[in-house]
């Protein structure tokens, strides 16, 4: 129909009615996605179609950079190789020790009833690209549902925590970096074992620890590692180094800014920590006397409150 043939009679609802209709649906979808994470299937479906196209679109760029590297990088490769060799030598001693420590730990684990929470080997994934979203700090990796990645898995790199898988596609996943606003990691300070929660600030790639009271013993230069009490991140991974401590008596909490240890947004390869489904360990809130295996928060997609309710219900059922 040409632009000049205006219809004499308008058919269907008016533009304003359509606008209202579509806007309401869009708002409903946004709420469903934001509050309840209910639409991961729709996301996965659309993503399954889009991903191959995106991969194809990236091929020319890859080919170009690869050919450039082929011509230019002999020197760089040599020096990198030398550095890596030195690193291997330095790490060799530590790895011998750690093997011994691991053996001892597994012996102690067998004595007690602690279970290892993670499958021994994670999954190495390549970072495909940054997410095209100026508001969010996310990266896309090339492993997905078919490789066994689940939403909530921790993602680490050689030097520390990178983030957490937040959306799983068929053959790719979306990782929210630990510097993303409100992305929380349970941590502790190496020097004194002080536990806290590190939260991405969303600004200039820093991490904050908003919940530490003024009197807490923390100072600049403190190393912060994962505490492991959440069951998502394995304990002991480097997260950040405290760079700024501001104790203003006007506020109940200290303002603590830390710099992430891993170059969270500049990794090429990351490791996805897969959870071992055979190793289910009890949640601390279930109570020690009845060791019912409760599933953890991230894999069920339920809120902690729902989980606690379920646990309480189980307890009640077990009581008589």
């Amino acid at each position: 129909m040409s632009a000049f043939q205006e219809p004499f009679f308008t058919r269907g609802p008016s533009p304003l009615a359509r606008l209202t209709f579509f806007t309401l649906i869009a708002i409903a979808i946004m709420i469903a996605d934001h509050r309840f994470q209910a639409l991961s299937f729709a996301r996965m479906g659309i993503g399954a179609v889009l991903n191959p196209i995106e991969q194809a679109l990236m091929l020319p760029g890859h080919a170009f950079s690869r050919s450039m590297a082929y011509f230019s990088d002999q020197d760089r490769l040599l020096s990198e190789n030398r550095e890596l060799n030195q690193k291997i030598l330095m790490l060799a001693a530590e790895s011998q020790q750690s093997r011994l420590i691991l053996a001892e730990k597994s012996y102690i684990d067998a004595l007690g009833e602690a279970h290892p929470r993670f499958a021994g080997n994670g999954l190495i994934a390549e970072v495909i690209r940054d997410a095209r979203n100026p508001y969010a700090r996310k990266i896309i990796i090339n492993k997905g549902l078919t490789q066994g990645v689940t939403a909530g898995s921790a993602v680490i790199a050689g030097d520390g925590v990178v983030g957490q898988v937040t959306a799983v596609g068929v053959a790719s996943s979306e990782v929210t970096l630990s510097t993303e606003k409100d992305q929380a990691v349970p941590v502790m300070v190496v020097r004194n074992g002080l536990r806290a929660i590190a939260v991405g600030s969303g600004r200039d790639g820093t991490i904050e620890m908003p919940s530490l009271p003024l009197g807490s013993d923390i100072q600049t230069g403190d190393q912060v590692v994962t505490s492991g009490i959440d069951g998502t991140y394995p304990p002991g991974l480097a997260v950040a180094i405290v760079s700024q401590v501001e104790k203003n008596p006007a506020f109940p909490f200290a303002r603590i800014v830390a710099q992430p240890v891993a170059a969270v947004s500049h990794q090429r390869f990351v490791k996805v920590m897969l959870k071992d489904p055979t190793q289910i360990y009890p949640r601390p809130d279930v109570g020690l006397e009845d060791k019912k295996p409760a599933r953890d928060i991230t894999s069920t997609g339920k809120s902690p409150a729902q989980n606690a309710n379920a646990a309480r219900r189980e307890q009640r059922r077990a009581a008589p």
């Binding site: 129909m1 040409s2 632009a3 000049f4 205006e6 219809p7 533009p15 304003l16 359509r18 606008l19 579509f22 806007t23 649906i25 869009a26 708002i27 409903a28 979808i29 946004m30 469903a32 996605d33 934001h34 639409l39 729709a42 996301r43 659309i46 993503g47 889009l50 196209i53 995106e54 679109l57 990236m58 760029g61 690209r129 940054d130 997410a131 095209r132 979203n133 100026p134 508001y135 969010a136 996310k138 896309i140 959306a167 979306e174 606003k181 409100d182 969303g202 600004r203």
Partner: protein, 192 residues
Amino acid sequence: MQTPPEGNNAVPPLKSGTMDLSPASRDPMRLPAPFSLIIIVIVAALLLDLLPWGGIALITHPDFVLLALLYWAVHEPRTVGQGWGFALGLIMDVADSALLGQHAMVYVVAIFLAQLLRVRMLQLSVAEQALHIITILAISQGIGVLLNLAMGRDFPGFSILISLVLGALLWPIVNAIATIPRLRRRSSRVVG
């Protein structure tokens, strides 16, 4: 590509005894867009948006899909409407790992504005249309920013305004790409 304004086509002065029935401007003789052309333009725009944009280009690149949608909403209002905006918005939400429904809402509002302004825009030259487009883009981007702020995200900086200017500059190009295939050859037949 400067297409003459479509509304005020000067009527050629009648020569005595002859009458030129061919239109003064070949623009009114534009063919209706085949469905395939609509799809091709939108898919091409989608592919451009799916390129791995990063860094400063991520913030400043214009939204090609929105521009293509606006063009067709102005020129083919019976075919492309708010439903298209909604569907493509959902696709863009997944592609940009944004909150689902965010682009959908922005596109629907933009197409609604285009529907309000289209009769007026068609009277104007392409450059003047681009001024309307930058307004529509600004309003829709404002909504997008507000949605993100409501979710507690931070403002990415004023360089996002560059994308509006680039979008407006791109409007004549979109116009050319989508209009030229539809121009009817001017017939050499002159009655006289």
